[in-house]
Subunit: 266 residues, 4 copies
Amino acid sequence: MTASSRHAMRHKLAIQLDPELSRQDGLTLLNMFIALVIVVGIVLAVLQTEPMVVTGNEHWFRYSELIFGSIFLLEYLARVWTSVENEKVKSRWHYIFSFVAIADLLAVTVAFSVYLGNGGILLRLLLLIRVLRLARLGRFSMAMDCIIEAVRSRGYELLVSAIFAAALLLMSSTLLYLVEGPHQPEAFGSILRSAWWAVATLTTVGYGDVYPVTALGRVLAGFTAITGVCIIAMPTGILASAFSDAIQVAKERHRKLPKILERDKD
Amino acid sequence: MTASSRHAMRHKLAIQLDPELSRQDGLTLLNMFIALVIVVGIVLAVLQTEPMVVTGNEHWFRYSELIFGSIFLLEYLARVWTSVENEKVKSRWHYIFSFVAIADLLAVTVAFSVYLGNGGILLRLLLLIRVLRLARLGRFSMAMDCIIEAVRSRGYELLVSAIFAAALLLMSSTLLYLVEGPHQPEAFGSILRSAWWAVATLTTVGYGDVYPVTALGRVLAGFTAITGVCIIAMPTGILASAFSDAIQVAKERHRKLPKILERDKD
Amino acid sequence: MTASSRHAMRHKLAIQLDPELSRQDGLTLLNMFIALVIVVGIVLAVLQTEPMVVTGNEHWFRYSELIFGSIFLLEYLARVWTSVENEKVKSRWHYIFSFVAIADLLAVTVAFSVYLGNGGILLRLLLLIRVLRLARLGRFSMAMDCIIEAVRSRGYELLVSAIFAAALLLMSSTLLYLVEGPHQPEAFGSILRSAWWAVATLTTVGYGDVYPVTALGRVLAGFTAITGVCIIAMPTGILASAFSDAIQVAKERHRKLPKILERDKD
Amino acid sequence: MTASSRHAMRHKLAIQLDPELSRQDGLTLLNMFIALVIVVGIVLAVLQTEPMVVTGNEHWFRYSELIFGSIFLLEYLARVWTSVENEKVKSRWHYIFSFVAIADLLAVTVAFSVYLGNGGILLRLLLLIRVLRLARLGRFSMAMDCIIEAVRSRGYELLVSAIFAAALLLMSSTLLYLVEGPHQPEAFGSILRSAWWAVATLTTVGYGDVYPVTALGRVLAGFTAITGVCIIAMPTGILASAFSDAIQVAKERHRKLPKILERDKD
C-alpha cells in the first residue's frame, strides 16, 4: 500500500468517524453503527444485573463483552490513527492525552468490565458520556446548544429559585420536625429525617411512606405541597421564556449566516 | 330513479359525510351522529368488561353490537359509494384499498367483536382512530395542526430532552441498585427493578410501593426527584414557546389568506 | 324623611353596594364587609361538619346561622331597593327575577341552612358563587378577564389536548386491564377499574393503592407515566402562550384607552 | 492610631461588608466568608437535631456554637461601627434601631441558641433571612429583581387563580365528604378531613394514606385530579409569560443604562 493511498484511506475514515471534518450534516453510517453498539452495550449492562435474565446465559454475556470491547478498541485505535487529520489536533500524542481520548480508552477497558465484578457496572455507564458526545453531531448539536444556551442564560434566575426551594425545604422540614417529631420520632425525629418527607412533598412525588398525622402537621403539609407547586412553576416559567428567546436567537443567526457567507464570496 | 337524481343524491351524501368537499366549516349533522355513535360504542365496549354491569344484561350488549355494527357497515358502504365525488380519489377501487377505507372496514368488523371474545376489546379501540379522523374536520383541524406543528417544530429539542431524561433514568436506577440493592433485593435487586422506582420518581407519580430505606439511598432519591422536576420543566418550556410560535404563524397565515383571495378576484 | 333625602341615601347605598356605578376602582367598605361575612360564613359551614368542633358548641353555630342569615337578608333587601339606580335595570321586578337576584335570595335561605340538615352543606357552597361575583369588581375583574380570555382563545387547542388525554386514558386502561387483569382482578378486573389507576398515573397523583405487579404491566405503566407528563406539558404550554398574548392585548387596550378618552374631550 | 488612618480602615471595612458602596459587582471576600459561615451554621443547626449524629459529639457542637456566635457578634459590631460610611444612614443610632440591624442582633443571639433548647432551632432559621439579604448583592440582585418583578406584575392573575384553586379545594372536599364520609368516617368524616385528601390530590402529591373507595367517590376524585393538573398549569403559564416580559424589560433597561451614563459625562 502506497503512502498516498494510505493517506486517502485515513482521510475517508476520519470523515466517517467525525462528520464535522467535511461539514456534513447528521451522522455517518459508521457513527450510527457505533451509536447502536453503545446503546446495545448499555442495554446488556443493564440486563446483566437481573439474575432472572443472567442465570443460565452467563457465557452469552461473556461473549458479548468480548465483542463489544473489541469494537470499542478498534474504534479507539482508528480515532488515534486519524486524529492528525483534524487541524485542531497538534500531534497524535496531544490527542492520546486529551480528555476525550482518555474517556474513550476508559470506555474500552470498561467494556471488558465483566472481570471487574459488580463495581464495573457504574463504570459501564461511562458509555453514556459517549452517547452525549454523539449527540453533539448534526442537527442534534443545534438543538442541544439551544437547550444549554437557554439554561445558561437564566443561570442566576434558576439559582435564585433553587435558593428559594432550598429555604422552603429547610423551613418545612424544621416545622414538621417540631410539630410531628414527638408523635412520629422514626419519621420526623430530626430535621434530616423530616427532609426526606419534605423533598417527596415539594417535588409532588409523595411516596406516602411518611406523612403527618396531627392536625397542625397536616395544615403545614398542605401549605408545603401548595408552595411546592408554585416553586415548580418558577423554573418551568423561567425555562419556557428562555427557550423562546434561545430559539428566536438561533433562528436569526441561521437567517444571517447565509448572508455572511455570501459576503465572503464577494 | 334517474341517473341524474342518483348523482344529486350521491353528491348530497358525499357532502354530509365529508364537509371539506363543500368547504364548510365544522361538522355536518351526519358527522355529529356518527361521532356520537362512535363515542357510545366505545363507552359500551368499556362497560362490557365490567362484570357488575354485564351480568344479567348480556343480551342488551349483544343487541347493541348488532346495531352499532350495522351503522358502521352502512356508513362504510355509503363512503365507498360516494368516494368518486372527491376529486382526489381516482377510482372506487383506489378508495377501497386506501389506508382510511381499510381502517373503516376493520372498525365494522370490530363493532361485531363480541364474537371475538376478550381479545376483541383491544381491536374495538381502533374506533379511537376514527374519532381522531373526525377531529380533523373544521376548526379542530386548525387547532390540531397547531399542536402537531408545535411538537414537530421542536422535535430535536424534545428528543434531546428525552435523551437527557433517559440518561437520568439509567443513572438513578444504577445508583439506587448499588445502594439499595443489598437491603431490598426484591425492589432494587437489579437495574431493571430499580428502573420501576426511578420512572415513578422522575415522573413525580410516586406510587410508594417501593422507596429507598437507607440514608444514602434517600439522599440519591431526593436528588432524583429534584432533577425529575427540572426534566419535566424542560419539555413544558419547549412546548410553551413552540405553541406561542405556532399560533403566531397560524394567525398570520389566516390574516394573509383573505388578501390572497381578494387578489384572485381581481 | 323627604323623598329627595331618601333618593340621596338610596344613591349612596347603591354606590356602596356596586362600585361600578361611580366608576370607582376596587371594593367599597361595604363590599369588603360583605366579602368578609361570606368568607367567615363558608369557614363556619366547613367547621360545622367536624364533630370534634361542633360537639358542645351547637348553640354557637345556631346563633351564627341567624346572624349571617340576617346580614344576607338585609343585603338582599338593600340590593332590591337600590336596583333601580342602575341604568341597565329596567324595573325592580326585572331585578328580582334576574339570575343574580335569585342566586342571592338562595344564598339567604342557604345561610339559614342549619334547619336543612346535612344536605344544606352543598347548598351553602353556593356562597362561593357570590365570592366569584365580588371578584369581578375592580382590578380583579381585569385579571379575571385576562385568564378567561386566555382559556377561551385557546379553547380548541385545549379541547384537542383533552381528546388526546382521554384517548391515552382509554388506551392505558385497556392495556393494563388486559395485562394486569388476570393477576389483580379487584384492581384491574375491568377497563373501568383500570381507569382509576390510569387517572392517578396520568395526572402524576399516584396514590399507590393500586399499581401493576407484572413485568409487562410495569413497562406499560412506565410509558403511561411518561406520556402523562407530556400530556400535562401540553395544556401548560398552550396556556403559557395564551396568557402571554392576553396580557399583551390587555396592555395595548389600556394604552389606547386614555387616548380615546382624550379625543372625546376635544 | 490616628483619626485619619482609623477613617481609612473603617472605609475599607465598610466596602468589604457592603460592596454596593463602591459600586462593585458581586460579593467581596468577606461577604463570601460570612455566607460560608452562615451556611455551615445552618447545616450544624440541622445536624444538631439528629440524635445519631449528636450523641457523643455534644461538646463539638457547643464549641461550634461559641465560634459561630462570636463571628456573628464581630460582624454585627463591625457593621455598627462602619454604618456611618453609608450616606443613606443618618446616625449610628438610626442604624442600630433599623430593621436590618435588629435582625442581625437577633441572629447573633440565635447563634448562641444551644442554651435555648429545642425552641432555639426555629430561631436559628432566621439565619436564612441573612442568606436572602446576601442574595441581593451583585448579579443575584438582578436575577432576584426579575423574579420578584415577574411575580408582582401578575399579582392579580395569580390571586385569581389562587381563588379558583381554593374554590376547587372547597368543592371537592365537600363532595368527597358527602360521598365518602359515610364509608370512611375517619378519613372523610368532615369537610376539614376531606380537605387533607383534596390538597394531596390537587397538588398531585398523592400520598395515598387516604383515597376514595366508592365508585362515585373515585369518579369525583378523578375529576379533582384532572382539574388539579389544569389549576397547576395556570400559575405556571402566568409566570412563564411574566418571566418573558420581566427579562425583556431588564435587558432593555440594561441597554439604555450606558447611554444615560454617557449623557451624564457630556
